[in-house]
Amino acid sequence: MFFKGNKEAIDLLGNAATIGTHLVCSTFVGMAIGWYLDKWLGTKPWFLLIFLLVGIGAGFKNVFDEVQKIQRKDQGKGPGVNNDD
């Protein structure tokens, strides 16, 4: 491939680049869902607060998954998918 030499570096760069944006975007998506639910149902602060917390939780879960994936790759046993069944 055209960047065979430093494929691992590019892999790591890709993973590192995704972690930050995932954390932030999940928080904002959670907040937006809460905001519009409040607007729709007229329960001013509650859904916003609940979904903000859910969004932050989702962000942390994303980071957790990413790091787990990097760790698994480091140990050299990335699972493959077989869809022949």
Partner: protein
């Protein structure tokens, strides 16, 4: 036109003026990218030979290398979804690199182009998941512990919706930032300061296209494999 900064010259504004149309610039340049890809595809497919030479060789290296990469990561099941990912990669790569051509602007520096591609990715991996698992696809949203399933369901929904948003914003932010830096440097010291930046950004744009491709692959892998 990067962030309202004065751009020296953009061909397509001239073309808009000449034709009297008001088609946005990023749409024009998306069409240019499509035209380039169609032309390359036509030229390659017109004279296929068993011993590849020139253009066919290049295209085979790109497509073959990406396919090997996908199969190594997803497994054999990845071959069915590979065309979508390869198309995305080549398309984004051409659009990114258009930004480095003098007089052109990268369509990916506009958020609408990226949002369209990210929404396509989102719909496609969910479609693949439903096609692969049927109604059992919903198990992907429930997490490993049954007691926590209702909480995990909401969290997973939020994290799935955040995926297209983060895809959009990452590509948009990087490419737009590069365009702004190029225009600013061009204003400070024309040609002399932009030349080294060209090589740096050429690498960065390839990496951005590759990251978009790789994330699409990771999402498709997640929807293809069985729920934990």
């Amino acid at each position: 036109m990067a962030a309202g900064l004065p751009h020296p010259l953009i061909f397509m504004t001239e073309l808009n003026n000449a034709l009297g149309t008001h088609i946005p610039i990023h749409v024009w340049y998306t069409w240019v990218a499509m035209l380039i890809l169609f032309t390359i595809g036509f030229l390659v497919s017109r004279k296929l030979s068993l011993v590849p030479g020139g253009l066919q060789n290049l295209v085979e290296i790109i497509v073959g290398g990406l396919e090997d990469f996908v199969v190594a990561n997803i497994g054999e099941g990845g071959r069915t979804v590979f065309p979508f990912m390869c198309t995305l990669f080549v398309y984004i790569l051409v659009m990114n690199l258009l930004g480095l051509v003098p007089g052109c602007d990268a369509p990916t520096a506009n958020i609408n182009t990226n949002a369209a591609m990210a929404v396509c990715t989102f719909l496609y991996y969910n479609y693949i998941g439903i096609k692969q698992h049927g109604a059992g696809y919903i198990k992907h949203f429930f997490g490993p512990v049954p007691a926590l399933a209702p909480l995990m369901f909401i969290i997973e929904i939020v994290s799935h919706i955040s995926r297209p948003l983060s895809l959009t914003l990452r590509l948009f932010g990087n490419i737009r930032g590069e365009e702004i830096v190029l225009v600013l440097l061009f204003m400070l010291a024309p040609v002399f300061s932009t030349l080294p930046m060209y090589f740096l950004f050429m690498l960065a744009k390839v990496i951005q296209a590759f990251i978009f491709f790789m994330l699409t692959m990771i999402y498709l892998k997640g929807s293809l494999e069985h729920a934990h």
